[in-house]
């Protein structure tokens, strides 16, 4: 069973069900603390009835003018708790805070172009590909660099729906253009 709550610094000791996972990155502690210090309300945890951490989301608010938006830095769910809609609940909350606290134009996230499962899920949540960032993901040993889709979902403030682009997959940009 699942319950949403704010991410707490001590969760770093308890998030192994999610972080013992090949697709979930383990950052230095200061990375998580930085997010909690700067954007505490954009970081949440899903907890089971017995107190296990089933998943979490880390987000931030960034950009200028009409690019002011919420960004999903990490969203992860432990293998045993996937396909239960937990990611949606966490994304919903991040979107709510982006709108009510930060008044952002949109929420965005980056995903590997090969991660079909994740792309489908984000599309199901109302995100669409805004642009394709070429060779965004650096290569590990013996691997090739990979492109990323920058996926966006307009918030209330984006009345003109400028964060939605027809055929965004074909709109290619270089990594330096997105920083």
């Amino acid at each position: 069973m699942s319950s949403l709550r704010p991410f707490h610094a001590l969760d770093l000791f308890r998030f192994n069900l999610t972080n013992l996972d090949v697709l979930t990155e383990n950052y230095v502690p200061s990375f998580y603390l930085q997010y909690l210090a700067k954007w505490p309300t954009l970081c949440s945890v899903m907890e089971s009835a017995s107190g296990k951490i089933m998943g979490y989301i880390l987000g931030k608010a960034e950009g200028e003018y009409t690019e002011w938006h919420g960004h999903v830095t990490a969203v992860t769910v432990a293998p045993d708790f996937r396909r239960l809609g937990l990611a949606k609940t966490m994304m919903d909350e991040l979107e709510r805070v982006t709108t009510t606290v930060y008044n952002g134009y949109f929420v965005d996230l980056y995903v590997r172009v090969s991660n079909r499962l994740a792309i489908d899920m984000y599309e199901g949540l109302g995100y669409s590909v805004y642009r394709c960032v070429q060779e965004y993901y650096s290569a590990g040993p013996g691997e090739l660099e990979e492109d990323a889709y920058d996926m966006r979902k307009p918030m209330k403030r984006d009345k003109k729906r400028q964060s939605v682009r027809e055929n965004g997959r074909e709109f290619k940009v270089q990594p330096h253009e997105v920083y």
Binding site: S2, P6, T41, A49
Partner: protein
């Protein structure tokens, strides 16, 4: 500072960064000698001196710090002040007051310098000096009243100072009250509307959080604090539904529900939850209506034209009550009210639950489904409840029907199933079995779902029928019943696993196979079989007892060959290889867990606990230990900056968490454990560095007020054990049955009890003494040693004796460790006597130590009986370390020039002890060599055949037979190869402890 000076300073910093402290010091001294006398040069020199850590350098650093702090006019360079602050903090917490004094003088002398005051605050925050921080923050808010954040920093620092002070501190209450008065003022300043906002008014949800943090510390009692907090949370300007509160809506709602429950106001809890759930209902209805109006599915829209939908009106973001915290509170409150004869709320609650279940389609939100189970559980014992309440059994069945193909189904139902009567449990299992039989398996998707349901069924079987079985042999008849039951369970789990493998052909490299959990269940059964056979044969090392572990390892290797990233299987492999003594294989598997960053503190214990005594000669162990230890350095350097960031960015409600995180990492039990392991490895491993190292970590743990934190994560490993373990019947008639303590699965097969605070203190003392003895010989040539080596032998003895005497503390130690501590006490007594020039005690202690050695010497003529396993390796290497300690401890007794007059008297006893230690060491090596050779000679022997026969038992229904028959395990030859690989590794581990 001139460019030239900058360049010179950079050279010093480069040397510092490279850890070349002496070189950095030389660079400073050279400049000072040439007449350069700027404050920064002296400050950096003092910092270097504190890093060198010898008695004289400590004194010199202290003198420089005093000089700089007392300068007139006071120093105004932020660089010099922050460096001097670091120096003071390195000199010890007793000098914390000096830092505040230094900054205060400087700020007073430069009243308009805002940056200087802020730096003062950051300097104190970085070293967690809350008294200094409170002064700095107060100065900021007084001098710069227009900066609203300074006001809140002052509140926060008052609270942090309050929290850091002991209860006995006279001013503790004062700072709590001050924090409260200030934040109350902010609350009063907050208007009910948002038209005019005063600067010191509360404007963010984090500031509301700060208010809530302050409250419990200042209210006369908890009821008053709860009342005020609830009032705040329901207020229109700062409450959960206010604009400000909505920033942290979930956090505040949870807080509100917790407080309402604490206050026992169940009607309010019921109403609050009902209100939140009502929002869900409205939302669901709206969504259904929208669908019928022809709105296409959002995903379809998105896919079609890369267009996304805009979130509906704000109404959609309201009513997010479909959360287990809300449902849990709702059901709990309904039950409490129903029992208080307020039947209406119970009836209505049931209606709400049923209505929600109707609206939500199966498998979308499990909350209402599980709420029904919880609701039924409230009335399970007395079989009453609102009309229409299902029995708990019925509710569990329904839950399985709707959620049985999700892997979370087991965890959701676990507690409720345990509440059922025995006959109901049987009925539930029968129902699930029948349900699965009736499930479609026509296409791949339905086959995958069916596999998931079968795994859940097996988890229920384990929980309800396997876990309650005792793992201790009681009577032959029960064993005759239990062993086939376990075999059945293991083989049927394996069948599910093997049957599901073809379904995974399209899975990605990063995915796990669909049936992996079934194979993990078979491992759980095999561990139980091992424990039962260990009990029957009264030996965990008999072939019968060990065979299930070999079988488990063969299965686990198969799992990780198909699912490369199955971390549960990898963790189990590490644990089982260690248990069998195949330690190199555990070390080989470990990197596949990809343990990084903070996981080193929570998970590396699976491999590294007592590792220096298990595999001291393996080079990789040292590298893994060093890697695990890095997290402590990086955390201590980075976390303080994050505290500063939280101040600057107003993340006030996170602050307490940051501080606790920082304290828990700094005082982690693993930090000291890895330091002790590293030092032992240095003695026992092939490359002794023989360094006198920095003892800071161990010094910290030995302080009287040291708090040792346990951050280890044991709960990550798979667990389906019952909450209600069985009782063991009394052996004799009339005796009382023994209640078995509840254990997680991983606790059933630990290599030994996990070390804790007492373990690290005891072995920190030993390491301190080793360093002390080396310092006496190489540095001071005298007893006792001065300066930072403050812990003297008499203190060491008293710490060790205290730990030894208390049965509560000794449970953290293995038997060989308890022996080792006893031996260390004898050697410490010898040094103490040397300091006191008490020849008689030196001799008697040396004789006792010698007698300890004789009683622990293995017999030279016989090969030790029983199979070696982890504890054979552990005892052997620990005793070798005891022999090495003799050399370290007797040297100062003999070499100290002041004790020449004693030499003649004590020399025979000491010489005899040294000879005995050498003989002891050699005897251990000989025994190790014999054991190792015996195992290495096993290839193709009868003994190997016996083990293989046991692993591959032919009898129908046994695990061995399944391993033979299921091709995934590679057939007989592959299994023999696997067994042989493990045995060779055990031989290597026994032999590998020896220094080359």
């Amino acid at each position: 500072m001139s460019l030239r000076q900058d360049r010179k300073n950079q050279l010093v910093h480069d040397a510092l960064d490279a850890g070349a402290y002496k070189q950095a010091l030389q660079l400073c001294n050279k400049r000072i000698k040439k007449g350069e006398k700027n404050d920064y040069l002296f400050a950096i020199k003092a910092l270097i001196l504190t890093l060198i850590k010898t008695g004289p350098s400590y004194e010199e650093a202290l003198a420089i710090a005093k000089q700089l702090s007392a300068k007139t006019p006071p120093i105004d360079s932020i660089e010099v002040l922050t460096t001097t602050t670091k120096v003071w903090s390195m000199l010890g917490s007793e000098h914390a007051g000096e830092v505040a004094k230094m900054w205060e003088r400087s700020v007073k002398a430069h009243p308009g310098d805002e940056a200087l005051t802020r730096e003062w605050l950051w300097g104190t925050v970085r070293i967690l000096d809350w008294r200094g921080a409170q002064k700095a923050a107060m100065a900021l808010q007084k001098n710069y009243p227009k900066r609203r954040e300074y006001w809140f920093w002052a509140v926060l620092t008052c609270l942090l100072l309050h929290n850091s002070l002991p209860d006995s501190a006279v001013d503790k209450k004062l700072f709590g009250q001050l924090a409260y008065r200030m934040i109350s003022k902010s609350r009063t300043d907050t208007p009910t509307d948002t038209t005019v906002v005063l600067p010191r008014a509360i404007q963010t949800s984090q500031e509301v959080g700060l208010y809530l943090e302050v409250l419990p510390y200042v209210a006369p009692d908890s009821a008053t604090a709860t009342k005020e907090a609830l009032e705040l949370l329901s207020s229109s300007n700062l409450g959960v539904d206010s604009k400000i509160g909505s920033g942290d809506w979930w956090g505040l709602v949870r807080r509100q529900l917790d407080l309402l429950e604490e206050s026992g106001n169940w009607m309010e809890v019921w109403k609050a939850c009902e209100d939140l759930l009502h929002g869900v209902e409205v939302k669901a209805k709206e969504s259904a209506a929208a669908k019928t109006d022809g709105e296409a599915d959002a995903s379809e829209v998105a896919k079609k034209n890369d267009g996304a939908r805009i979130p509906e009106a704000e109404g959609e973001t309201k009513g997010r009550g479909d959360d287990w915290r809300v449902w849990e509170g709702f059901v709990k409150a309904a039950g409490e009210l129903y029992n208080q004869e307020n039947k209406d709320q119970g009836n209505k609650a049931l209606e709400v639950i049923l209505q929600h279940r109707e609206t939500a389609k199966a498998g979308t939100s499990r909350n209402a489904d599980l709420a029904l189970v919880k609701f039924a559980s409230l009335f399970h014992d007395h079989h009453e409840g609102p009309e229409g309440t299902p029995t708990l059994l019925e509710a569990c069945k329904e839950y399985f029907t709707r959620t049985g193909t999700k892997s979370c189904c087991f965890e959701d139902l676990q507690n409720y199933l345990e509440m059922l009567e025995m006959s109901e449990k049987k009925e539930f299992l029968g129902f699930v079995e029948k349900h699965i039989e009736d499930m479609d398996a026509d296409d791949e998707k339905s086959k995958i779902s069916k596999t998931a349901a079968q795994i859940n069924h097996h988890k229920f079987v384990y929980l309800l029928t396997i876990s309650p079985l005792t793992i201790t042999a009681t009577s032959t008849s029960s064993e005759e019943e239990v062993i086939p039951k376990l075999n059945d369970f293991i083989t049927s789990s394996l069948k599910i696993y093997v049957g599901a493998l073809p379904l995974g052909s399209a899975l990605l490299d990063t995915d796990n196979q669909y049936g992996d959990d079934a194979a993990l269940l078979s491992i759980m059964g095999l561990v139980r079989l091992h424990l039962l056979h260990s009990s029957i044969t009264s030996s965990s090392t008999s072939i019968t007892a060990q065979a299930p572990l070999y079988q488990a390892l063969i299965i686990l290797e198969a799992i990780v060959s198909k699912s490369k990233h199955n971390y549960q299987a990898l963790l189990l492999l590490v644990r089982l290889y260690l248990l069998l003594g195949a330690a190199s294989l555990a070390v080989e598997i470990y990197p596949r867990l990809n343990i990084k960053q903070i996981q080193n503190d929570t998970l590396s214990h699976f491999l590294l606990t007592r590792i220096s005594t298990i595999l001291p000669a393996e080079k990789k162990v040292g590298a893994i230990l060093n890697d695990a230890g890095r997290i402590y350095e990086s955390s201590s350097s980075q976390t303080p900056n994050m505290l500063v960031l939280a101040f600057e960015r107003g993340g006030y409600a996170q602050m307490m968490g940051f501080i606790e995180f920082s304290e828990r990492v700094a005082g982690s039990v693993c930090r000291s454990m890895w330091e002790i392991e590293r030092r032992r490895l240095d003695r026992l491993g092939p490359q002794q560095t023989n360094k006198i190292d920095d003892l800071e970590t161990l010094d910290t743990v030995l302080k009287d007020d040291a708090v040792v934190w346990d951050n280890r994560d044991f709960g990550v490993l798979v667990n389906c054990e019952t909450e209600h373990p069985p009782s063991i019947p009394a052996a004799e008639e009339g005796g009382e049955a023994t209640k078995v303590q509840k254990k997680r699965f991983e606790e059933l097969f630990r290599t030994s009890a996990p070390p804790g605070e007492n373990w690290v203190k005891a072995f920190a003392v030993v390491e301190k003494l080793v360093v002390y003895c080396k310092a006496v010989i190489t540095v001071t040539h005298d007893l006792p040693a001065p300066g930072p080596l403050s812990l003297q032998p008499e203190n060491c003895t008293s710490i060790l004796k205290k730990i030894q005497a208390d049965p509560e503390t000794t449970i953290e130690f293995t038997e060989p460790e308890r022996d080792y501590i006893e031996f260390a006490c004898l050697l410490t007594a010898m040094i103490q006597a040397a300091i006191a020039k008490d020849g008689v005690t030196i001799i008697s202690s040396a004789e006792k130590a010698q007698s300890w050695l004789s009683s622990h010497t293995p017999s030279p003529d016989s090969v030790p009986s029983g199979e070696p396993e982890w504890n054979t390796l552990h005892a052997m290497h620990l005793y070798i370390d005891a022999a090495i300690l003799v050399g370290a401890f007797v040297a100062p007794t003999l070499q100290s020039p002041l004790h020449k007059q004693l030499h003649k008297t004590i020399r025979p006893a000491i010489t005899s002890l040294i000879t005995a230690a050498t003989a002891f060491h050699n005897a251990l090596l000989t025994a190790a060599s014999k054991i190792s050779k015996a195992i290495a000679d096993e290839d193709g022997s009868d003994k190997e055949q016996e083990l293989v026969d046991r692993v591959l038992e032919l009898e129908q229904g046994n695990v061995g037979r399944a391993l033979r028959d299921m091709s995934i395990f590679g057939g007989v030859e592959k299994v023999v190869e696997g067994v042989r690989k493990i045995r060779r590794d055990v031989a290597r581990a026994v032999d590998g402890g020896r220094k080359k």
